[in-house]
Assembly symmetry: C2
Homo-oligomer: 276 residues x 2
């Protein structure tokens, strides 16, 4: 059984279409490559109740990991920690370890910029105000620490929304946890081929039969061409340990699919070659 994960992205900028959700894609890809199944991505506004509701829903689904992005900074609309506290029915309190992390960041900043001292104002202390029994995670790039909360079924991890900070904390602290949960050998393997001259609706029964003959391999078609010039990307993937020989399995599935497409009058672009 592989572990599963949900991503909750917090930020109005995502819901007004101001920015593309690159964080969700990056996290999904990293987790998938480690053999973790990403079950759901949810994007909510900077409102405590919205955040709390989304987290409660994910916890109710007993997802192994919930990773949030955004809302950890110093401004009034950084409400993720409030949302987590509300979802878990825990109080918020200044966390000593987190406060040291924040303080050291401002001391380093003051030193580098030749400022005598930077006061620990309320917005700065806010970044160290965590739900009870939460653990701050060192942020190698920015000021706001990440946060980990362990519940009975779920490990909840809150990461900053700034991509560089999110990625740095993920790589240093979250990735090792996920790797351990998925088992060292379980990995995601994938291949893509392109089919021309065959409509997606003609491809559908071929995919059905190829998937039937190759259990564990998922085959999905993605139309890429124009309405009257069908060009379809076919993506094959499997999540498995090395003992199951996933690469061989994918190769065998590709070969069968290529034969079926050619028999139906289509042609295939694979590894840079067009057949027939």
């Amino acid at each position: 059984v592989t572990a599963d994960l949900e991503i909750i992205c917090i930020g109005n900028e995502l819901l007004i279409g101001k920015i593309l959700n690159t964080n969700a894609q990056w996290l999904s890809k990293q987790a998938t490559l480690m053999g973790i199944t990403v079950k759901r991505i949810t994007v909510v506004r900077d409102e405590t109740k919205e955040i709390a509701t989304a987290i409660k829903e994910a916890l109710r689904r007993k997802t192994n990991f919930v990773v949030t992005t955004g809302g950890l900074g110093p401004t009034f609309d950084d409400k993720t920690l409030e949302g987590i506290a509300q979802a878990l029915n825990r109080k918020l309190a200044v966390n000593r370890k987190a406060l040291i992390m924040v303080k050291e960041k401002y001391e380093a900043f003051a030193m580098k910029n030749h400022i005598e001292t930077i006061e620990l104002t309320q917005p700065r202390i806010k970044m160290a105000t965590l739900p009870r029994n939460a653990h701050p995670i060192f942020n190698p790039v920015g000021t706001a620490p990440g946060v980990r909360v362990d519940t009975i079924k779920t490990t909840l991890i809150a990461l900053p929304g700034v991509p560089k900070e999110m990625e740095a904390i993920f790589e240093k602290t979250v990735a090792p946890m996920l790797r351990q949960a998925s088992g060292k050998t379980t990995m995601f393997h994938e291949k893509s081929i392109h089919a021309n001259n065959i409509m997606e609706s003609s491809l559908a029964p071929l995919i059905d039969s190829v998937m039937h003959d190759n259990p564990g391999v998922y085959v999905k078609s993605h139309p890429r061409g124009e309405e009257n010039k069908p060009r379809i990307e076919i993506h094959l993937s499997t999540t498995a340990g090395q003992a199951e020989k996933p690469e061989e399995k994918l190769q065998k599935t590709v070969a069968q699919l290529v034969r079926a497409i050619i028999e139906s009058g289509g042609n295939v672009v694979y590894d840079g070659k067009t057949t027939p």
Copy 2:
């Protein structure tokens, strides 16, 4: 009261990080510009139960509009209509109007490609198999029709996942509905300025006080620089009718914010000019 909307994107490719969710951003932006509030984006896998659950949750929140993307095509993993049927507890049946739409698409394709006839196979009929009392929406670009279902509180609209098809159906059929729901005059207005030489945590109290003095204007900071070289984008927005003079309101808010930042020792880039 403005109308609200949720987006549900269906597709494993989004949850394995294969592609960026450009559909969600595009839809969010369009809806926001029309004065509609996008409350939530949910991304789920190609599984009937997952889709049905996400739709039921959105309906329970009494969202005015729910727009889904993806899962309308001919392959086995196109399960959106099954998911909608399950969420609404309605049976699926071949829809006569939808079948005509699909049939005409294949006839046109056959004609252009000098094929005598294209059989209406099961995967093709599948695209015209809708939940009872659903309405097909003509797809000007691709084969699978969009689908509209009216429930008591919510208008549910299913769009294809191929961006060109999704955008074409949205612009032709969905945009007019949203414009009517939001009222013709309510629109989204926004401005961005950039602040240098001021930390986000120093900006936080300035934003608080500027927002307090300018009700209806939302001000959000987005760190864009390095840890030791703060550079912050500040995004100001308001959703309002012309009678409320939104542009004047934003200008006034920007002016107050710029003064406050300069007084705190920062400088501002706005309209291409740096002050001071």
